[in-house]
Homo-oligomer: 183 residues x 8
């Protein structure tokens, strides 16, 4: 069944330009699930399936979509095309497909005045941050989400602190030997 | 009077790293005014006045800030420092201060997984888009703002269409002569 | 009157993303006129007026358009958006709008497999070459156009040769003094 | 037997600068075969065998060549050298040979005004797109080719849609596990 | 036990943004040990654990810290954040985390006037040089350290000379075969 | 009289590769004067006057030099050549001479393991920071200098705060009109 | 009269791709004159006048040419085309024509194995150095030229030393005021 | 025995900055042997063994050295340091040591006016071309060497032609299967 016919409601729409981008963006979807944020993931290309992409964007209103995440590589027009057809906040994730992702970064972030794309880091860190930023946007009027974000930050800080504590305990040499034996 | 003592409430906090960045970001402030979005503008540097910056960020909760816009040039750490201390959505505007803004772009957008900065285009287009994106975020639960954004888009399209109509009327040569005599 | 209602036929459609790009592309239009190639010039933005752009592209078939030239700066999605909606040859001209045009170049040329954009040099040289390439494509089955292209090349070579002859006559110092007194 | 003596006629000439470039360009040749477009593939270097290259270009007229595809890496002069000796449309494919292909891209695309090279993406996507663009150029006066191009696009869209449908069916996690187990 | 409670004194503080950076910086720590320079290594992130980082920096005075080494990748704000809170010399080591380390280099070195970060090479060479530079700074008023630095240089020169002597003895071919059999 | 014969003692040696670099480095010298740090400025080129440069470096010991600042553009070898002949801390200032200073930055910062050059930002900000870093290094065992550095930072923060206060007082529009009438 | 008919003998052939490049290369010609090295300057384009260029290269043998200097901007194929047709040493000068000269640098220097182009710096410094390198090559078996090169170096060193002496005499502030009043 | 004591005469001096660079430059040495050109290879670093390097350069005159090849990575100062101390032609080979060799390329090629370094391509192609260029320089007054260079070119062209002939014989698919089964 095509996405157009599907009237399921969700808060965040994730679009990837190619199914080879899915493994990276799967982390964003998993993170949204972790935060209890409803979302939808579609493979829709600005170049190969532009009409389906446009139809999907047109469905945002009736589906109650609030934030869009669009990820693509090379001449990454996906986020920009989405942004041209909606006034919803669009988060762009540039993916590395050959020259370090610089092409995708510039194609995503250098939007002309009038049509913003909110761009995050290239690749995996960007996918994580796109999800967190979407949550942050939804959290503005949702104190429970704000609370979860704060806990996520605390947990992240705690993990880092725990590693540091272990480093203090083991010393550099032993820590490196234990944690990254092939470093 | 320092910003910390000021308990005025507003939706969008705009921070610039240096007063030389103000002329560019003034457009963002003007655009927020045009949209009727309350905002505040501060010159606070991640490097020269880090404590005041942190205090300002700490004041966001009691001031009801919902979105932050942070603009800086060179090794632009401003947006990242703000993002490290708040879970609010932070929009970063990289500014060109010597090598085309590539340093500011990479310093702003390449945030590690966990702490997103939503980055827009380098310079003036980015300032405009930061404001529009902030409005778009606030518009999620505000149909009036959504309406204004839609009208802004329509007006922008109309302006472009009017120029195109004039081009059709005048022809290329005459249009260029009239509109950009020194082009 | 909007371009959609206009059913005038022409061989080459020139689209620019903004009227500030017109002075550069005006050279392309003038060159097509010089070659006797019918053409049309429109200001249509992939981001600000995407629907009008799509409608214009949809009109190509009934208007008998054979080649498209699309020029834009920054995150230049214009040529790619046109290419996504037509199987006609699309020539992309990247324009410099701040970082030397590298953003527009990569956004135009790095198209994914399946949807080609034929990209020429950044800026003015690219505008000239887009027109010449369009003529070259039309000349495949038009011996008169081929003849004109050959004469254009000859004239270009002749101009270069004349300059060289003058250099041989004047010597370097005198030539530079005469031709580029402020060089 | 040298290529010069061969008077076989064909529509598209593919030239690669080195036989190490053949695996990438083989896709372009296969695609032309799929479209029923006659073509020829030669290993001819702008630097190592410039005379044979020039002779090959000179043979284009009597062989009825209509479009040229030239692919090279590093200081990729191949397409530019071909373009300097013919008024036929020349499509340049930059190949990555060490610094991401940026050298080949700039050497191919930044042609001076007067001698266009129509440049496509770096590497494999570029090879595919060079073939498709050549077909698009030939299709201008060939409705059968236009039809095949349209069907190619449809098939491409269908493939993407099928993947998306499978994604909707399986869900992200399962799709990623099944399709890219090592992603 | 957290680093804050620890009042051990040392000359050089090494901070890494993530424990994945430890294997590279472990060389710096080992080199400081070799020179007999007391030091401390902490995993503290400008983004994930900013407060702990600031507390650590605040502890520098009572711990008698004289030089700081800070290493991070991507949008590397670590060294800059440390430098914003101390007037001690701060050495920044940019690490490669995806685009060759150019992002980390620019984020580290392009500090605004007023807050210097002394930046060394990307990655492993930078880690070595950060340690040597810290020793050089401490050696200004310590003739024994100066002596050790001079001997380190001599040993380095001697190693290089020994390799060269072996090359003279073996000849190029044999040397390459023996030393880099898979070169 | 050549610099070699001069046995004046000073703490910081500033070397510029060309007298065209002096206006930028003059700020560093003035800043050192402001901090009461004795210094010397020489125009000595790694390429044009390498022997004088080496002799100058050899004089560092008897002159009691403690820190070196070396500034150059293009293939900036100056700091590296100094660093190869001394174990003193060497601060490199890359200068922009044509491609944004990227050549000078990479030539200065990418030193091989063993011979550090402590690199600061390109151009004017770098010159300021080189002086401040030299002071910071000298301040390690000089509480008076540490005090002055702290006051410099306070003054810098105060200036920024004053500008911010004025901004709060005037509002953005008025501030921009008053402070950057041509912005 | 065309260059081909001219049988004047000379040691160094200077070729520029466009007469707009002459002012920069005029310095190279003047320098050769200063060294008493016979030379010839031609405007010949790899793209606009490839045949005349090839004929000129073919004339090198009978004219006794020993070294070639070729200067061009953008996709600078000139030096490479010359190098493909002669075994004489070819010196390439990349010229800046829009993106800092990086395109011309890479197009000139990244020649494939087998066909060297000896590349010097972008622009004016490169033009000077191309002439000096040509002289250095000719000086290998010409002790008088070697002597002149040595004197040129001495004069260059003397000029630098004189400036430095004046700096020592005037002090930094006064020197900058006098020499670069607008610096 | 140190290189200084060695008074063997040779035409070409090859210097590499590190023994890890030898495998690449070994090709240059082998090529010089193939051409019957006497040469010498030394591991001498501009940074680790600057005095030995300078002594080696000083020995060039009594050893009858005519051309120098210097290869290094990162902030590659080697060729520039040699060039600063000799008027002989110096060929620089930039090596890739982390960011694609761009740092080494710019550090080698961007020499200031007055001290040329003749730069070839990054890495292996550059090593080959450095040797060929050295031969070309020596061949200016050596008709036998010129003859060998011409034969080398012919052989290179023949090899390319043979591959092309085989391609014509086998067809693209079969050629790729046979020659690059894993391409």
């Amino acid at each position: 069944m095509t996405p157009r016919a599907d009237d399921r409601k969700f808060d965040v729409a994730i679009v990837v330009g190619s199914d080879s981008d899915l493994p990276i963006l799967a982390k964003a979807a998993a993170l949204l699930t972790e935060f209890g944020v409803s979302h939808d993931v579609q493979i829709l290309s600005a170049h190969r399936t532009p009409k389906q992409l446009d139809e999907y964007v047109e469905s945002f209103e009736r589906r109650g979509v609030k934030v869009v995440i669009a990820a693509a590589g090379k001449a990454a027009h996906l986020a920009g095309r989405v942004a041209a057809s909606t006034v919803l906040p669009v988060i762009g994730v540039p993916l590395d497909d050959g020259i370090g992702g610089l092409d995708a970064l510039l194609s995503t972030v250098q939007m002309p005045g009038g049509i913003p794309v909110l761009t995050v880091a290239i690749g995996s860190a960007g996918a994580t941050n796109a999800a967190l930023a979407a949550v942050a946007i939804l959290a503005i009027d949702d104190s429970e989400l704000t609370h979860r974000l704060a806990r996520y930050r605390e947990k992240m800080a705690l993990d880092a602190t725990r590693k540091n504590d272990e480093l203090q305990h083991l010393g550099v040499e032993e820590y490196v030997r234990k944690k990254s034996p092939h470093g």
